[in-house]
Amino acid sequence: MLMTKPEIISKLKDILLIADSGNADKINAADENTRLMEDLGLNSVNVLYLVIAIEEVFNIRFDDETGVDTFGTVGDVADYIGGKL
């Protein structure tokens, strides 16, 4: 299934909104340059949670070495997912 980058980012936002509804304003305003930790306030466990949720939603498998430092921005995650789809 091919998806455009905006579509992937939109789906990523949906995942984040379910997991962190109290942070809805920041998530809705996020774009590809939004930083996961600094701007959205995610911690390392939140990032791992996100990775796990992405695997289930997008039906992809992250590389074993993917760590909490692998992705800096929402765009980095979207690019990675795009490369796996």
């Binding site: 997991a19 962190d20 109290g22 911690n43 791992l48 949670y49 990775v51 074993d64 070495e65």
Partner: protein
Amino acid sequence: MKEVKTKKTGGFDPVPFVQGFIKVTGAIPSLLWLRPKRIYASEKAREKIKGGALIIANHSDFVDPVYLMTVLWYRQHHFICSEEIMDSKAGGFLRACGCIRIDRKNVTINTMRDITDRLKQGQVVSLFPQGRISVGEDEGAKFKSGMTLMAIRSGAPIIPVYVKPRNGFFDRLKVVIGERVSVTELYGERPTFAEIDAATRLLYEREKQLKELAE
């Protein structure tokens, strides 16, 4: 990024042999030395640990893993160890003992998969959620929430344990064992970030209650 060492997928697995050897040779000396006293938080806490479980404990001494193995002797423990310890000269021995390496600065998805797979397979994974030896004023250091995510992914219960710091070499070992906590029963399989934090705080509070029981 450093390679994450995972369990072997085939061939000889030294872990049961090494842990069995330690148990057989260390049982009598440790029982004579430590004279362990188990205190249970409730009747439910007396139930033997069966199947996959995460055992969490306070960490006040580098020999805490030995204490946990002495008290919960009937299960094979897989301790989560930091990269500093696992990459030291002791790393080979610790791997043979079944310890799991974790890079605390950059936890990888592979480490998470390894731990959750072990729990799903019915193994016991033991860890110190404060992430370091915490004594004195630092004893109340907050728990890290990674264990909660592991429990959610695997469905395994978390069993809080408090090891009372020993005052001297001949001081008797006192350990309080708490009731198991199932995060998935409390918050379901898809908890929010806030619920993960709430579960972590709950476990922290349970640990504090166990400490009060020990004193």
